[in-house]
């Protein structure tokens, strides 16, 4: 893992298989990183839960709400997979300081990227369900 990212880890937690780390629809803007193990990204659909991605070591998740400005509910659930997963919680204050230093034009671009990620994720999910 990148040392800069590692230095932002404020807390570590161990999750057992199937434990919900982020619940879709809930409020929160923490950003996490997988230190060990893996996690599944799932979305609720009329036909049940659909897995849309698998996250592995070193992958950051939960960034969408934070980078959109922290107002939206969580767009998907993240659930620990493959036995135990060790999860790092990134220092919110450091991230807020960093984000505040970003010029507004760049924030616009970052928000746009997050919006595309959110919309594309929903779209892929609805295509999977429709099939």
């Amino acid at each position: 893992m990148d040392p800069a990212l590692h230095s932002y880890i404020a807390e570590e937690t161990t999750c057992s298989d199937g434990e919900v780390i982020i619940e879709e629809g809930s409020r929160g803007s923490w950003i996490y990183v997988i230190l060990e193990g893996s996690a599944k990204v799932k979305k609720r659909t009329p036909k049940g839960m659909v897995t849309i991605d698998i996250l592995r070591e070193g992958e950051v998740f939960g960034e969408m709400v934070f980078l959109e400005g922290g107002k939206s509910p969580r767009s998907a659930s993240v659930i620990a997979a493959e036995g135990q997963a060790r999860i790092g919680l990134l220092d919110t204050q450091k991230l807020i300081d960093d984000y505040e230093a970003v010029p507004s034009e760049l924030k616009t671009l970052i928000r746009s990227l997050m919006l595309k990620l959110r919309n594309t994720t929903s779209k892929v999910c609805s295509i999977i369900v429709a099939k």
Binding site: L5, T51, I54, L67, E105, L113, L117, V124, I127
Partner: protein
Amino acid sequence: MRKDTGQPRRKKVLTFEKGELIIKQGDYGISIYKILSGKVKIFRTYNGVEVPLATLEPGSIIGEMAFLNKDADVRSASARAMEDTELEVFHPIDLVEKYAKTSAVLKIIIDQALSRLLRINRFMDQLAVRSGEEISHQKEDPWSSTREFYRKEVDIVCQYKPAYRGKGSSTLLTGRIKDISMSGMCLEVPPGNESAIGHEVGKSFHIDVVLPNGKELNVTAEIVSVKKQPGNVRLGMQFKELPDYYGAKKTLGFFLMPT
């Protein structure tokens, strides 16, 4: 496309007529646009098929992905004006300097989000693949392409029969698929099947199976390995070209999505 010179300095506005291409997938470019009026369709082209990704309205940003992507300044998708459209062009050079000063951790997080989006977009290509004339002439063999599919462990009863004509070619046999991927499967059969028909390396079979998601899959596969175990025989099988090439690929693609 015409330049509008009536705007204040540093705010450059471009006008595109309905149907005009704004960005072409694969082109180099890091210019960023904001839609002021009109409507823009974002799409990818994959194997000659247009894969729609989004329709963007005024206020939306186009082109930020290539800008934020540190690995490539190639456009990952095309953008076309669906109505007469006015776009404001950002000044990427100013932004490049500003982005360079952004915190390393934020950039790592953004990079990862971007690769996730690019990965989902490529996956949309897969979903959009459909049987049709426009892609049937493709030389590239999608079965052997190294796409992000997994070998999935399963336990599905299937029926199979020899893919050749001759003695025993109409015999319907039963086996169990133990795992399956885009390129092949492991088929477990009772030892008795071997006495009915030869199961040597090189023999091909038609396999008919209803996947747990309810979709029927018909494939032809060739035996590439035979492993005898107590009580059963495990056959390593590789898929061969099929009449319903793209249909089968699509069915299997859906089924093999990570769950």
